[in-house]
Subunit: 316 residues, 2 copies
């Protein structure tokens, strides 16, 4: 039986192998996966993001427990922007060490960033497709909250959960910097700590400042949920909040537009990667690029002038 | 007098305006800047990177003080990968609040990430060019250590300084994850804290594991420097270590290859951005992209198949 069929048959080892192919960008496997595109299921996608140390992994674990009580099969993609400081597979490693290790209906995989130009987003989408094919629903996409990745995760998920903790300075920064714009649900984790009250006030104030949609269009006010993930407290409430947001999306016919936006981003990422690859392998693009590259390295042309010349020559 | 001439004349306000143009990707200004390409000075570039909280900004400030004693004019580009959690201009804001605010021979600018696809790297290179034109030498490129950015900074600088602190867990992670591969100089900041000894051992062990170049080729063993930036301690030693590395580069004729690699990255970033832009505006590329985009949104084509069709049609 081929790998795709074995993924469909929900073989755990096949899933692991398929995801390794995804991570390696294996062209043969990706072509086979692409062959399933039209018939792929579209599981619910929950995004979890927040700053380092906010307890995202523990929260994800309690969320899995709550979802398992509903007999859901849960797939997790832990997206790690591959910081040399945090180590590539940190999120996934943490999750894998939890109580769900032996549960065949839970599959956790971490994806590390490879290279640049949308590589992480492309790989994460492919990983979601593999888990969808394996019958997992919902999918949880967890990302460590650094850099561009929170914004990207908002594109990967239907519902984005932002996790904050009551600790010095965080709240102000989070609010100031527009994290509220991507949040569909806000979690105050470690809510037994000092400052939870203050943080909640700050968050609610920040949420008030969100731009409202035009009059008459559906408007979602993100709920604020308090959790203590290490004690499994608040997971049910969080699930309820996530379900409410999903109800809002489906009830207002917005799920289609969320998916459309995602599809556009994915196409754009793949197009960017494809065009860059063409510069290295294309029959026309490669020699044209090599020529201007030579001029640049010889100091005869600036990189900007070179790109202009390249685009002219390729008549794009 | 036009803006470029005023930058060359080292007018502080002109520099600020020029860098705003860079940040906004102003085409007219960038074309004018490109006109200066052949005659741009090539100042020394020092990269400073490390995890959040390692005291990079304070260290940069003490480094500026030490460089000012040598009558150097110091330009700083603080590259922030625009985390919603850290706030866009955090690094630069911190630096601007220091003692160097009123010194005309120190110019600090933070660059936040705009969009994807190499935007931050492209903008930082342009900012370095503006500061070079303004006669600053050396340039310090500081980046908060998250995600892909440390790897990118290693490309922006001639000498990359990695800043670590003695705190639980960090050392092991940093070593494991290959941060050592980009370090030319390693700083143990907050060296008066417990664990500095242990961290230094770990770092040296990690440095031992770096791949050696082929027999006979020049080999650089990164020095480990202890600093207490808040007390201005160790800045001179750090400068000496940076100078040693520069001596290694120039003495072995390696500065040219460092710059060549940087030029290649810059060309590649600009080419990627240019190709993607062509999909939105190009005479041939735009209609071709619109066509496959329509097919994808109608569910008739997968994004991957669409990109394949696009590349075929554009005969790249």
């Amino acid at each position: 039986m081929d790998l795709i069929s074995r993924v469909k048959a929900r073989e755990t080892r096949a899933l692991a192998r398929a995801l390794t192919h995804v991570e390696n960008g294996d062209e043969v496997f990706l072509a086979a996966l692409d062959g399933e595109y039209a018939s792929l299921p579209h599981p619910e996608r929950i995004g979890i993001t927040g700053p380092p140390g906010s307890g995202k992994s523990t929260l994800t674990s309690t969320l899995i427990t709550a979802l398992r009580k509903q007999a859901k099969r849960v797939g997790v993609v832990a997206v790690d922007p591959s910081s040399p400081f945090s180590g590539g597979a940190l999120l996934g490693d943490r999750l894998r060490m939890t109580e769900h290790t032996l549960d065949d209906d839970v599959f956790v995989r971490s994806m590390a960033s490879r290279g640049r130009f949308g590589g992480l987003a492309i790989g994460s989408e492919d990983a979601c497709d593999v888990l969808a094919l394996g019958g997992f629903d919902p999918l949880i996409v967890e990302t460590v909250g650094v850099g561009q990745s929170e914004v990207d995760i908002a594109r990967l998920a239907d519902t984005t959960v932002v996790v904050l903790t009551p600790s010095a300075g965080d709240s102000v920064q989070a609010l100031k910097a527009g994290i509220m714009e991507i949040a569909d649900v806000v979690v105050i984790n470690k809510a037994d700590r000092d400052g939870a009250e203050r943080l909640e006030e700050d968050i609610k104030e920040g949420l008030e400042l969100r731009p409202h949609p035009p009059e008459g269009e559906p408007f979602w006010q993100p709920p604020v949920v308090r959790t203590i993930a290490t004690q499994n407290a608040g997971a049910e409430e969080l699930l309820t909040a996530i379900s409410s947001h999903r109800g809002f999306l489906t009830g207002n016919g917005l799920l289609a537009s969320v998916r459309k936006r995602r599809l556009e981003s994915r196409l754009s990422d793949l197009a960017g990667a494809g065009l860059l690859a063409a510069l290295k392998t294309g029959d026309r693009a490669k020699p044209a690029f090599e020529a201007v590259r030579g001029e640049v390295l010889a100091g005869k042309l600036s990189p900007r002038a070179a790109v202009k010349a390249l685009l002219n020559q390729l008549k794009l």
